[in-house]
């Protein structure tokens, strides 16, 4: 298990260009947002919508990489030594760490260029963590599906967007509450639902992945 996770990291860092291109992609997205809204003060709703839209694009691309770019030889090798359940768990955990890193980077650049209206930092980071896990759990499986098709990246976004709307909606609502500095009780429903969706997505990925892996 630990070796598998480490293997993910090593193979990812070997392809440094992908990692850097993801970060650059995110930074350019934030910068485009900044140029298009200028320096005006954004309302909480607009800020959280822009923030999550930028993250959505970056995170979908990040997770899409988790299967689409795997070399065929490496896949066959992995297939022969470990069970599919282990692989999906490793991919989800790796994707979770990657997403969490990307979201924090995104937040940093947003606060640099588009001001930082977040009042309740701890709740906001909790949301970032939960949403990162949700994205990773929901999209890793879809990435595996999409990697089998002819036009993988397009299919990936078509399949992914409807499935993660729930996570995104909840995250945007909690972020708005964070900006308005409401107490935690105001967002408890959303937090519960976000956790619920995460568990659901993770459980179904775990159950369904072996069927895809077999081919």
């Amino acid at each position: 298990m630990k070796e598998l996770l480490l293997y993910q990291f090593r193979s990812e860092f070997r392809k440094k260009s992908i990692f850097y291109s993801l970060i650059l992609y995110l930074v350019s997205l934030v910068f485009i947002n900044y140029l298009s809204v200028g320096s005006q003060r954004l309302s909480p709703g607009i800020w959280s919508a822009l923030f999550w839209m930028a993250l959505l694009a970056a995170l979908v691309n990040a997770i899409a990489k988790s299967f689409i770019n795997d070399r065929p030889g490496a896949v066959t090798y992995l297939y022969s030594i470990v069970s599919p359940e282990l692989i999906i768990v490793a991919k989800i955990l790796y994707g979770f760490l990657l997403c969490a890193g990307i979201s924090c980077t995104g937040y940093f650049f947003f606060s640099l260029w588009l001001a930082d209206p977040i009042e309740d930092k701890s709740l906001f980071f909790l949301t970032l963590i939960l949403a990162s896990f949700g994205f990773s759990a929901a999209l890793s499986l879809l990435s595996a599906i999409a990697s089998k098709t002819n036009n993988a990246s397009l299919v990936m976004s078509v399949l992914g967007f409807p499935v993660i709307i729930g996570i995104l909606l909840m995250a945007i609502r909690i972020t708005r509450n964070c900006i308005d500095a409401l107490e935690w009780a105001a967002s408890i429903d959303e937090l519960m639902l976000l956790t619920g969706i995460n568990l659901l997505a993770a459980a179904f990925s775990y159950l369904l992945f072996p069927y895809i892996w077999r081919s």
């Binding site: 929901a138 499986l141 879809l142 599906i145 089998k148 098709t149 002819n150 036009n151 299919v155 078509v158 399949l159 967007f161 409807p162 499935v163 993660i164 709307i165 729930g166 909606l169 429903d189 959303e190 639902l193 619920g196 969706i197 659901l200 997505a201 179904f204 990925s205 369904l208 069927y211 895809i212 077999r214 081919s215």
Partner: protein
């Protein structure tokens, strides 16, 4: 023999004829704002019941495919999904007609409207996925996995989130639903037959789609035999 086997199709037609005639002509409760648009109930609500039933059947057959690996189940599952999608789109359209008169705009951004649009997107994506895979086995397996996963992801979207947010849709957010409007039970006389009729029609359409898919499969097989 034919009449015995297809009695439910005849029943479906009779019920739907009754729904259209009775739905437009029978007495309905007089209510402010809603007025005659309350008749949409006979068409809009059964569409959703049918859609959900067809999607559930589609998921069940997808599960069955994954456990049995027989392509027949995949064709059944895809046919139910296709018919369900048609009913979903019709449900959205009938809802928009009603909303245009009652809420003043066809798309009000109500949580239920958005949820149903997302559902339609999910199933359109399902067919995009099927279209972009050439290998039959692979298409069956991957689309089965996707439809199960998407259905699971859809449950919070259409059953939980709309209940959490305020909505103007009848029957939610403190708005009276069907039971409150229909004080003298006069609408039930049309509503229950309407639901039965539409559901039967949905299953009928699906069964035809299944037969078309099976026939296409047979044609491919025959051509393959002829050429080899």
């Amino acid at each position: 023999m034919v009449a015995m086997k297809s009695w439910w199709k005849v029943l479906s037609i009779l019920l739907l004829v009754y729904t259209v005639i009775g739905g437009f002509l029978l007495e309905v409760p007089r209510l402010a704002i809603i007025n005659e648009s309350i008749r949409g109930l006979y068409f809009h609500v059964p569409m959703w019941f049918t859609m959900i039933l067809l999607f559930v059947l589609s998921v069940l057959f997808a599960v069955r495919y994954l456990s049995r690996h027989d392509l027949v189940y995949d064709r059944i599952s895809a046919s139910f999904a296709q018919a369900g999608l048609v009913f979903g789109i019709l449900g959205i359209l009938t809802g928009m007609v009603w909303a245009n008169y009652t809420w003043g705009t066809p798309w009000h951004g109500d949580p239920k409207q958005n949820g149903s649009a997302i559902t339609a997107l999910i199933y359109l994506a399902y067919f995009v996925l099927r279209g972009s895979l050439d290998n039959q086995e692979q298409r069956a397996r991957l689309s089965s996995v996707y439809t199960i996963f998407a259905f699971a992801a859809m449950i919070p979207l259409i059953f939980v989130i709309p209940r959490m947010s305020s909505s103007m849709h009848p029957g939610s957010g403190g708005n009276p639903g069907f039971n409150m409007y229909d004080l003298d039970s006069s609408m039930r006389k049309v509503f229950y037959p309407a639901v039965t009729g539409w559901i039967l029609l949905g299953i009928w359409i699906s069964s035809i789609l299944i037969r078309i898919r099976n026939a296409e499969e047979k044609i491919v097989d025959l051509e393959y035999e002829k050429n080899s």
